[in-house]
Each structure stands twice: as C-alpha cells, then as structure tokens.
Amino acid sequence: MLAHDQDSLKRTPLYDLHVSLGGKMVPFAGYDMPVQYPAGVLKEHLHTRTKAGLFDVSHMGQLALRPKSGKVEDAARALERLVPQDIVAIAAGRQRYAQFTNEDGGILDDLMVANFGDHLFLVVNAACKAADEAHLRANLSDACIIDALADRALIALQGPKAEAALAKFCAEAPAMTFMDAGPHEVASIKCFVSRSGYTGEDGFEISVPSGDAERLAKLLLENPDVLPIGLGARDSLRLEAGLCLYGHDIDTTTTPVEAALEWSVQKSRRTGGARAGGFPGAAKILAHFDGGASRRRVGLRAEGRAPVREGAVLFADAAGGEAIGKVTSGGFGPSLSAPVAMGYVPVSLAALGTKLFAEVRGQRLPLAVAAMPFVKNTYKR
C-alpha cells in the first residue's frame, strides 16, 4: 500500500456516494476505496452473479494515444513496441487485453486497449498508472500524443442484469458483444462504453466525465437489480473467473507464457508471424513459446474447507520435500462455496488433477490442479 495516512489518500468522484451508501472505506493503491457495503462481500458477490453489481474502478488509469500522423494504425504500430499483442489488428470499436513487458520478458502491467477509430484508448492498473504513463511518454512520443484522462471516472456494471440496466440509458448497449468498445451516450452523457469486465460475468465498463459520474451511478443504482459492490467481492469474483491480479498473479518476474496468458499473444507477434517480436523481452517470451517455460500459473481447488491464501507454499508431497511453488491468489469462492486459489508450479506438476499440498498454519492441506475459470464465464460473444 502506498499510503496509509487517510489524509494523503486520493478520492474518486464517487467517494461521497460510497460513504452515503455505507461503504467501508480502506486504502487501496493510494485511494480511499470501498472494500464492502452493508450487504457484505458474500452477498455482493452472489448478487453480481445473479443480478447486477456496480463497481467504482475510477482509481484505474485511463489514457488516450493519439497518432501524430492522424492514422490510428500508426498509434497501434507504436504501441506494439511495448506489448506482445497484435494491436494493428484491433478493429475500430473493438478492445483487446494486453501486457506491457520488460526486457526480461516480465510483465510491467496488464491493460485493455481499445480502438476508437482515430485514437487508442487504454485502461491500466491504478498502482501502475504513473509508471505506465511515463513508459508511454518515454517510448511512444515520436508517434503519439499521450493524454492521461485524469478527469474521467470508470464504472463497471457486471452481471446477468447489467444489459437491461444499461439499456434503459444507452439504447446501443444490447447490440454490443464481448470486447466491443467505443464512445456512446449514457443518460445523454458522453461516455466510453465497453462490453467487458473483471468478474467473468457479462457486463460493461463505462468511462464517464468525473463531474457526471455520481449522477450516472445514482441513475444505475435506482434499478433494484443493481447493488453497489466493493473491492472485496471484486477480488473474489475475478478469482473465480481465473483472472490475474497484477502484482500478485503476474508481475515483473512472470512472462506471459508462465502466466498461462498465451491466448492473449496473437500469432502475428510470435515466431514466424508477420510482426514477430519487436517488444521488450521478446527473446525470452518467444523462447518460452517455442521451447516451453519451466513453471506455469495454474488453478487450485482444495479438498477441504479451509481457504488457501496468497503466499501459501506449495509442496508435491504430504510431508518433506522441497517447496515447489507458491499460491499467488486464494480465498473462498462464494459461488462455489469452496476455497479456490491460483499459483505457480513446475510444468511437470501443472497437469489438471495433479495432487499437491499447500502449507497453511503448519499443516499441509491437499489440493488439486483445476481448470480455470472456476466459474463458467457468461460473456456475450
């Protein structure tokens, strides 16, 4: 945590709303954020899976990359210097998941990149946003104007009732499919809307000017299907969905291949592709693609009821032996009513069903390598 001092914590444009709704405020990535509301993490989680949840994710960074040439392909080509994804192929009105990599093939941050037709729109993690902006300025200023969109809030609306809740204020929302993204009016406010999220559920992320954020959030919350959801349930939802949390499941020491994110690296950037390599750490990352990595991020299900949390050391045997890996995220999955975790293990122990043990309070608890997502996602394809 960067800041413990309440006075130095930043507030999002929805801070007053959180407090008025009874949000329990905690420091997170330098912001004073709601970890839960009076309903509690368990109910908030389950409500998001059955109805709809509204999340304030305004602490995240929003940036525009505007091509100096006026051609969005030039911004896309420039961004490809920093990420192993095919950015040129993102069609106008579409969005893609990406990672900034470093020279060692590790991950500096993960992000969303959308093509808005004349520029690219990026959403990055709160804790990394200053470093990401500096990284973009240092490397892409020849081709792009980098605009940090500090005066925008970000609201996620997630769950099976999200579409109906948003459709009331945005007629175009129902026609969008997973990873569609672009400017849309919501309640006559000029927003950027994408059909995406961090819960495994169908839903939307809405970038809204800061001054209109509270009004929009209140309009959406008037719908009885929509409840405010805190960071606690955001974490349990993304964990059940098998999604990585930066700084925990992925960081500067994990390559995209080790992190089991191969699906996010298009063939055009891999060995033999039209624009193979050309991103930081390409030699190591492509070697991992071609020859395999020695460890891998896997899902883990416990046999018992005790949650296995971040930092728990993994072993191959019930007693003795060397540590083989570590849990990077773990807790209780409310939708499964069972513990769920993810962590890194040697590839020889990464096959589905492999029995492992996690040390929790001096005891080795049995686990098995399990498929992710733990809860089936419901994206609208």
């Binding site: 509690g40 993490v41 368990l42 606690g232 349990s236 949650p307 807790g331 513990p339």
Partner: protein
C-alpha cells in the same frame, strides 16, 4: 450461575464453575463479515493465555482467535465446521468455539464485564 466476561480482542467467555465456554463477540463477527471457515483447537490441547487457539476466516481474510485464559480444551463446537455462518447469526450463543478447563482463576481478573466491553467497542 454463569458470568460472561470479555477480552479486548473481542472474545467472550461464559464462566460456569471451572469451565469457560469461549467464542467471538457479535461486534467481532460484524467486523469480520461473512464467516466461511472456522478452525478449532484439538480437544486435550493445553492452551496458554494469549496464544492463537482458533482461526476464523471470512471471504476476505483469516483472523486468529486467542486463548483468553490458560487451560485445557475440553470440547469444541463441531457445528461450526458444517455451518460457519452460525458465527454471524448467533455469535454469542450457538456459535461458541470451545470449552476450556480454567487453569488459573486469577487470569479472569484482567477481563472486562459487559459494561466495560460495551465502552471498549463504543
């Protein structure tokens, strides 16, 4: 005739002769949120005052429950394994954690009565 005492760590003890029944307070369960798992000490374990005796876990985090006094664990509440949410619904009743044989009654002197505990959590 039983007396109920409290610790500053939000445990309650119901004293009946030389046996104390121990649990966490309603205030504690509210702070924890939805309880999803409880780990209890083994029957027969000799607990020392202030050592970690049990663990209570919410969706978010694990918290230790400390032995409020020294003594041998006589019995644990098996109902909590099947229904951890009892801690939320009846923290100071059905959701007792364990019973211990009080080793040293003088340790009770440092505990709070209900009025003092109310002031502590106010």
């Amino acid at each position: 005739m039983t007396t109920t005492l409290y610790t500053s760590d939000h445990e309650w003890l119901s004293i009946d002769g030389d046996v104390a029944t121990v649990g966490i307070t309603d205030y504690a369960q509210q702070q924890l949120g939805d309880v999803v798992f409880v780990e209890l000490p083994k029957v027969g374990r000799a607990l020392k005052k202030a050592e970690a005796a049990a663990v209570v876990e919410s969706v978010k985090a694990a918290s230790d429950v400390y032995a409020p006094i020294s003594g041998e664990v006589l019995e644990t509440n098996e109902a909590l394994a099947a229904e951890p949410a009892l801690v939320n619904s009846d923290a100071q009743g059905k959701a007792w954690f364990f019973k211990i044989k009080i080793a040293d009654k003088s340790e009770l002197g440092g505990l709070m009565d209900e009025a003092a505990y109310k002031a502590h959590t106010a």
